[in-house]
């Protein structure tokens, strides 16, 4: 192994049923560097981390660490730790009701008894040397989240750590706390620890990292030095498609969409999860929310559907004022919502495809008016046929279908209610390419028939192909609306990336 390199991963492959989560991915970590691992959801970041920490066995590839001749195999997080690889996860996995010192040494004490005095002394030294503002005997829950995170890091680096993995450490910290954490990271870097930094926040990457490795759809896009990679280009690589490749099919001109009658309009709509925003959609219009993960695009459409408690705003449907406090209100007004997290919010896994298809219509009809078995059978067969759902029968539990077919069932569920306004949040995530294009085509067809559709996708290209207007979000705010000629990859990416690092 070359000098100054603490970790190399070569040709790592990991296959899950139906998807190649990692396809020949390389990763190199140098001594004393902060290396950002970037990619959108499903890019393979967390899979790579889990392979490295022994949570998942790899299917192919080699892992080398500094100081050991041959390739190592890591079968458990404990084993990873013995090679000097430590992880601090997104959700702090410490015990809030124990003291700081106990948290730092729990499970690592030698012998059967605990020397409390020595443990607290050691903890105090470590906290001091890392500049962490916590006392050993303090209960962990009395520390701020940032300090808790830092205690977790202290615990990780105490075990002769060469590689420190920080998985989204800043997602629940405020700016001041982030700065504190970054100081600690730079301190560790100066001591020669190699840090793998997984995050969604672009600004933070540019602030603290030395190198960036970008993954997309389980493939390595490349490794770059931070100061040689403009922010716009990074976004382009994360999302896919180079900037030069701008083949865009425009659905219609902006003028055409301006003439439309308004179907749904929200003024200063807000929910517990989303900031107030204005939004409208015309009849037969397809528009979309775009932005990086965590930009607030899902939270906005959830507010429209009443999926999160609505806290304010005025909403009209076809010019009439309506009140949407809960999903049923939205449904009754002809709004349908296909949720982002299919498993958690969409499917009722153990119920049959048929029951899953009729569910929303059934709820709309009310408890006293069950859809007869024969009618349900008819509806299910109709949509299984129309959407090409691959299932053994309509009796099959939906949980046993593939992701794409599950998604089609949920789509069928909402189409069956004949909504006036259909919201699709990431309908194409994690499903095969064939089904993706089918769904895109369906969206355009529905719009032609007069349905209004709001479409959210991580793949900008997909949105450009279907939407006539894009609402761009960054950091939970709407930062732009693009129509007509503005609907190009570069425009969208510039708006998403904002001012920072833009030197095209």
């Amino acid at each position: 192994m070359k000098d100054g390199i603490v970790l190399t991963m070569r040709g790592i492959c990991k296959r899950f049923p139906g998807v190649m989560a990692l396809d020949r991915v390389d990763f190199t970590l140098r001594k004393g560097e902060i290396h950002a691992l970037m990619g959108e959801n499903g890019a393979g970041k967390s899979t790579l981390i889990k392979v490295l920490t022994g949570v998942y066995p790899k299917d192919a590839g080699e892992i080398h660490v500094d100081g050991i001749e041959e390739a190592i195999s890591i079968r458990s997080p404990q084993e990873a730790q013995s090679y000097g690889i430590s992880t601090v996860y997104q959700e702090i996995s410490l015990c809030p009701n124990l003291t700081v010192a106990e948290n730092m040494f729990i499970g690592r004490t030698e012998g059967k008894t605990v020397n409390w005095k020595a443990m607290e002394k050691r903890a105090g030294e470590l906290l001091d040397s890392l500049g962490i503002p916590a006392r050993p005997r303090q209960q962990l829950s009395s520390c701020s989240l940032a300090v808790q995170q830092m205690v977790a890091i202290a615990r990780a680096v105490d075990t002769d750590c060469k590689v420190l993995i920080l998985d989204e450490p800043t997602s629940s910290l405020d700016d001041k706390e982030v700065a504190m954490l970054f100081r600690l990271m730079r301190d560790l870097k100066a001591r020669g620890v190699g840090i793998i930094f997984v995050t969604h926040f672009l600004e933070q990457v540019y602030e603290v990292s030395d190198r960036i490795t970008v993954l997309r759809n389980g493939n390595l896009v490349g490794e770059f030095e931070v100061d040689k990679l403009p922010q716009v280009q990074l976004v382009a690589m994360m999302i896919g498609r180079e900037l030069q490749n701008l083949s865009v099919i425009k659905k219609e001109s902006g003028a055409a969409s301006a003439r439309r009658e308004v179907r749904y309009e929200a003024k200063q709509l807000s929910s517990t999860e989303s900031r107030p925003f204005d939004f409208y959609i015309g009849k037969g219009e397809v528009n979309g929310f775009t932005g990086l993960l965590g930009s607030g695009r899902s939270e906005s459409v959830r507010a429209i559907f009443g999926a999160d408690p609505v806290t304010g705003g005025e909403v009209t449907m076809d010019g009439k004022k309506i009140r949407v406090a809960k999903p049923l209100d939205a449904m009754k007004n002809g709004i349908a919502y296909l949720p982002e997290d299919r498993k958690r919010d969409g499917i009722i896994a153990e119920l049959s495809v048929r029951d899953n298809i009729i569910l929303a219509l059934q709820v709309l009809r009310g408890m006293g008016h069950p859809i007869s078995r024969a009618k349900a059978e008819e509806f299910a067969d109709e949509y299984i046929e129309a959407l090409g759902i691959k299932t053994a029968s309509s009796d099959t539990p939906i949980g046993s279908l593939s992701g794409g077919n599950q998604q089609k069932v949920i789509l069928a569920r909402w189409l069956l209610t004949h909504p006036k306004y259909l919201i699709l949040d990431e309908p194409t995530r994690g499903i095969d390419v064939g089904t993706k294009t089918e769904i895109q085509r369906l969206v355009l067809k529905l719009a032609e028939e007069g349905m209004s559709v709001t479409f959210i996708s991580s793949e900008i290209e997909e949105m450009l192909r279907t939407c006539s207007r894009l609402i761009v979000m960054r950091d939970r705010n709407i930062v732009g609306q693009l129509t007509g000629d503005e609907l190009t990859q570069s425009h969208v990416m510039h708006t998403i990336a904002g001012g920072g690092g833009d030197n095209e």
Binding site: F305, A307, K326, P327, L328, M331, Y337, P339, R344, D345, G346, I347, I348, A349, E350, L351, D355, L359, A360, Q362, V363, L364, M367, G368, H369, P370, R413
Partner: protein
């Protein structure tokens, strides 16, 4: 014919009803070997000169009535909330006390008075069910913890209702509810169970309750996003169980002609939960088959009667019951089911291989 048989076998193999059916079958076979006349049903005349059916089969079906009714309601609570109500025995005692209180309050016990008493005890039990349900649905308290409250204090409440006494009621109407209606040889509690079964069948047929309960139990978040009021559904399942408690309490009181708040349906909550489990229903909620719980309840009662018939002292019955129940529960566990499935596949494969060799 053969094809149809194998289709039925395949259905049964995957069905959750397999375990309770096997349990009942084993008990039947065991008893027939022990005593070929065990299940014979005879027609005799009771003290009032009416013809009545008699025999072990009848006493199993009759004796299980309260348990069957409670396990019906317990199935819904389990499916919707993913937990169990352990206060059903105590709630039945409250309902029984209210029933007797009303009967004793007026002069003569006429049919309208009995009906009024039943309706009132039903309303009280449903109100207590709503109390349990709101703790679970609104405050997200574990069902077993939430119902522990009523489990603990329910029999004291029952004690207060009749001022600490254990009043007796004697009336031909009460006697008819607890044993036989003159002229009908089938014990009335069995008829009430059939009536409850029909009521639930109608409820499932003419409302969407079953779909809603299963949706809420499987994926509450998705159910909510499809417009289902999951709080309301959970609450409703507890209220229905409350009504079941009232019916069970009324039967229990009518059998004895008195209310003993300390002993009425004592410990029945555990049997009711067990019936749901033996019936192959997931105690973690979700999909359910009420018929499974009903079969489970009858299996438990058949086991009890068998043990009594074998002259096992009543103090020992529980221990013997426990052994059989351990076997049943293990038999129905996913681990055993999976192992059985693998064994079956291997056996078929080796048989096929053997046939192949024979042909060669």
């Amino acid at each position: 014919m053969n094809k149809r048989k194998s289709k039925a076998a395949a259905y049964l193999k995957n069905s959750q009803l397999l375990v309770p059916l096997i349990a009942i079958l084993l008990l039947v076979v065991f008893n027939l070997i022990r005593d070929p006349g065990f299940f014979s049903v005879g027609l005799t005349t009771n003290n009032n000169g009416d013809p009545v059916l008699q025999g072990n089969l009848i006493s199993i079906l009759n004796g299980a009535s309260e348990l069957v009714i409670l396990s019906m309601g317990m199935t819904l609570v389990t499916a919707a909330s993913g937990g169990q109500d352990i206060s059903v025995g105590a709630l039945a005692a409250i309902a029984g006390s209210v029933f007797v209180k009303v009967l004793k309050s007026g002069g003569s016990i006429s049919a309208p008075v009995v009906l009024g008493a039943f309706l009132l005890c039903c309303a009280v039990a449903m109100a207590f069910g709503a109390f349990n349900g709101s703790l679970v649905a609104l405050f997200n308290i574990q069902p077993m913890i939430a119902t522990l409250i009523l489990f603990t204090c329910g029999r004291s409440i029952a004690y207060w209702i009749n001022g600490g006494a254990t009043p007796t009621v004697s009336s031909p109407i009460i006697n008819a509810i607890g044993s036989f209606i003159p002229g009908i040889p089938i014990p009335t509690p069995i008829l009430i169970v059939i009536l409850m079964g029909i009521l639930f069948a109608l409820l499932f047929r003419f409302t969407t309750l079953s779909l809603y309960i299963q949706s809420v139990g499987i994926n509450q978040s998705a159910a909510r996003l499809n417009g289902i009021n999951s709080v309301g559904i959970k609450l409703l399942s507890f209220v229905i169980l409350g009504a079941c408690c009232a019916v069970a309490g009324m039967i229990g009181v009518s059998r004895l002609g008195l209310i003993n708040h300390e002993t009425l349906l004592i410990n029945i909550e555990m049997d009711a939960i067990l019936a749901v489990a033996i019936g192959g229903n997931n105690l973690g909620g979700g999909k359910f088959k009420m018929i499974g719980s009903v079969l489970g309840a009858y299996a438990i009662q058949a086991l009890t009667i068998t043990l009594y018939a074998m002259k096992v002292p009543s103090t020992d019955v529980k221990a013997y019951k426990a052994v059989v129940i351990v076997l049943l529960v293990v038999m129905g566990s996913p681990v055993v089911k999976e192992a059985a499935g693998r064994l079956g596949t291997r056996l078929r494969a080796s048989r096929r291989a053997g046939a192949g060799k024979g042909a060669a």
